[in-house]
Amino acid sequence: MDFISLGTFVQLLVTGISHGCLYGLVALGFVLIYKATEMVNFAQGDIMMWGAFIAFTLTSEFGFAYLPVVFLTIFVMAFFGLLLERTIIRPMIGEPPFAVLMLTIGLGFVLRAVAGMLWGHDEKEFDTPYSIDPLVIGQVTLDYEQLVVVGCTIVLCLGLYVFLRFTRFGVAMQAASQNQLAAAYVGIPVKRVVAITWCLSTAIAGVAALLVAPLQLIYPGIGFIIGIKAFVAAIVGGFGSLAGALIGGICIGIVEQFVGYMFAGAYGETSVYVLLLLMLFIRPQGLIATLQRKKV
């Protein structure tokens, strides 16, 4: 293991950041749900995988151009979120968090199995207009796909922050999460808020899917792995904080790339989990902590 040259260092850093942004993006989806409903959606990665397959089908089967595919995918995913909320999440409002956690794990299984049946288990490729020759600066090769990921993530993050902080609906969402009963008393339609939150979250999963698809091959198991890493990202960053999810994602993305380079590639993935366990031992509240109070 020699000392890394500057070119490789920057290369690893950029790849790490772009992967990290992806993890952060998936994490955003469930942090949003967590903030609004205190539910933890373990199927977020698998929902994203569906988005990738929907985008793939729209391009290869129906022959749509890239831009319509983007809008259609996000629209279909938002509708999918509404459908999920209405059929299986709404009966669970008011149930203990553990039950919801198990429910989403089961949902992930079902989504993966159905995707495998519909689209098969082979790996599929998804091309975009910007899948062209990479940009070369000195020793560093920058794929446009990676740059687009980073750009989109930043824009989406800022947008969400503004939405939650300054719009009427964003404030209603925060109120509903702080106290459902009180929110209902002051006239906030709590059920509708929950529904729209899910809708928004699956739409974000759709965006993440569109960004993941050109970077990696698509197969039914892809969502689970990315989903788990997104969870690690959210925990490292501090669950319940949008910025935390993004920072955590970038952290584990970079660590994964560097460890994968220095040791054999397979250890990169394991290093993520080691990092998480260390983090939980040292600073369990995450990098950006949200204050907690315990109640009886």
Binding site: G94, S177, L277
Partner: protein, 358 residues
């Protein structure tokens, strides 16, 4: 309907509530003792698997059902138990000490996670245990000189006091004895101060603490015992499957164990057995179903996870108390026949209030 009038304390802490229970459980044990002499080898094998699932399920039930700590990485403890036992036994350590040491090693690693669990709740713990399981899986496949990695590890035939335990019937009885011991241990534990402390921690950590329960001690103990039981199950599982691969102990196994606990019924000892029956019978049912389904559908990969996942969803939405909860409802319908009221088992919903301070 049966009323049991308790007149002294001994009656209250008795394992059996009344003679009817004594009769039925006696009958069950009698049937299990006689079963191998009447059944084909295939069914003896399936029953042995059932026992192994019950032991592993008892471990997880103690943790999730009684202490309220969610572990999604229990396959790791099963793997540790399996490999520890197989390696120690191959080194020449006698069967029983090796089995106990496997449980001990697994329990020790459980204790480490348990200490960390003091500061984690819910989702944090779930993801931490998943990560732990991934790391253990990686260690097993990378530590080739000891575990054989992906080439597999051949588990030697079980021999105890010079007697070969390799035959199906003898191994069946070994597992039966261990299952009964584990269930008795769990039931006694739950009646002891430790068990009561666990339930108190599950219901409310702060109330438990206020009443003088030591959280660190209780959570660590729960994790240790849980891991030890699961490790023991893993050790027996190693003999049953004969050849160990890292692929035997993936996240799928962890989820299967979680399903066992949820579908069986959280917080009940009966639930462990019902859940174990569920996960050992379901694959057979799916195999039979394949013959009746249209060919294009039945031959697809993923039918099993689909059925497993859908059943999990169904139970969580419609019967969160699991198979045992359903059984209690059916039983009370018949025992109180004309008097049963629909609202007896009404589920309580609670309005959410966050514990985050904004």
């Amino acid at each position: 309907m049966r009323f049991v009038l308790k007149t002294n304390y001994a009656q209250d802490v008795n394992l059996f509530l009344h003679n009817g229970q004594r009769f039925w459980y006696g009958l069950l044990i009698g049937a299990l003792l006689l079963a191998p002499f009447f059944l084909e080898n295939f069914y003896i094998g399936e029953l042995t698997y059932l026992f192994i699932w019950v032991i592993a399920g008892a471990g997880l039930m103690l943790l999730i059902g009684y202490t309220g700590l969610v572990s999604m990485g229990h396959a790791a403890f099963m793997a540790i138990g399996a490999y520890a036992h197989a390696v120690l036994f191959k080194l020449g350590i006698p069967f029983v000490p090796s089995l106990l040491m496997a449980a001990l090693i697994s329990g020790f690693l459980g204790a480490i996670i348990g200490v960390a669990a003091l500061r984690m709740t819910g989702i944090y713990l779930a993801v931490a245990t998943i990560s732990f399981a991934f790391i253990i899986e990686k260690v097993i496949s990378a530590w080739r000189p000891v575990t054989g990695g992906h080439r597999g590890f051949v588990v030697p035939e079980p021999v105890m006091f010079g007697v070969d335990f390799g035959s199906d019937i003898v191994f069946y009885f070994l597992c039966l004895v261990i299952v009964i011991a584990v269930i008795l241990l769990v039931m006694n534990l739950l009646r002891s101060p430790i068990g009561r402390a666990m339930v108190a921690v599950r219901d409310s950590e702060i109330s438990a603490q206020a009443m003088g329960v030591n959280l660190l001690q209780t959570k660590t103990l729960a994790f240790t015992l849980s891991a030890a039981f699961t490790g023991l199950a893993g050790a027996l599982y190693a003999h049953k499957i004969g050849m160990l691969f890292p692929e035997n102990f993936t996240i799928i196994l962890s989820i299967k164990l979680l399903m066992l606990v949820v579908v069986g019924g959280l917080g009940s000892v009966h639930g462990i057995v019902f859940g174990a029956m569920f996960i050992s019978i379901l694959p057979q049912v799916i195999a039979i179903l394949r013959d009746f389904l249209p060919a294009w559908f039945a031959q697809r990969r993923g039918l099993e996870p689909l059925v497993f996942g859908s059943i999990l969803l169904f139970f969580l939405i419609y019967e969160p108390l699991g198979l045992y909860g359903r059984w209690v409802k059916i039983r009370s319908y018949f025992t109180q026949f004309p008097l049963i009221r629909k609202s007896t088992f009404k589920r309580q919903k609670s309005y959410l209030r966050t514990e985050r301070v904004h």
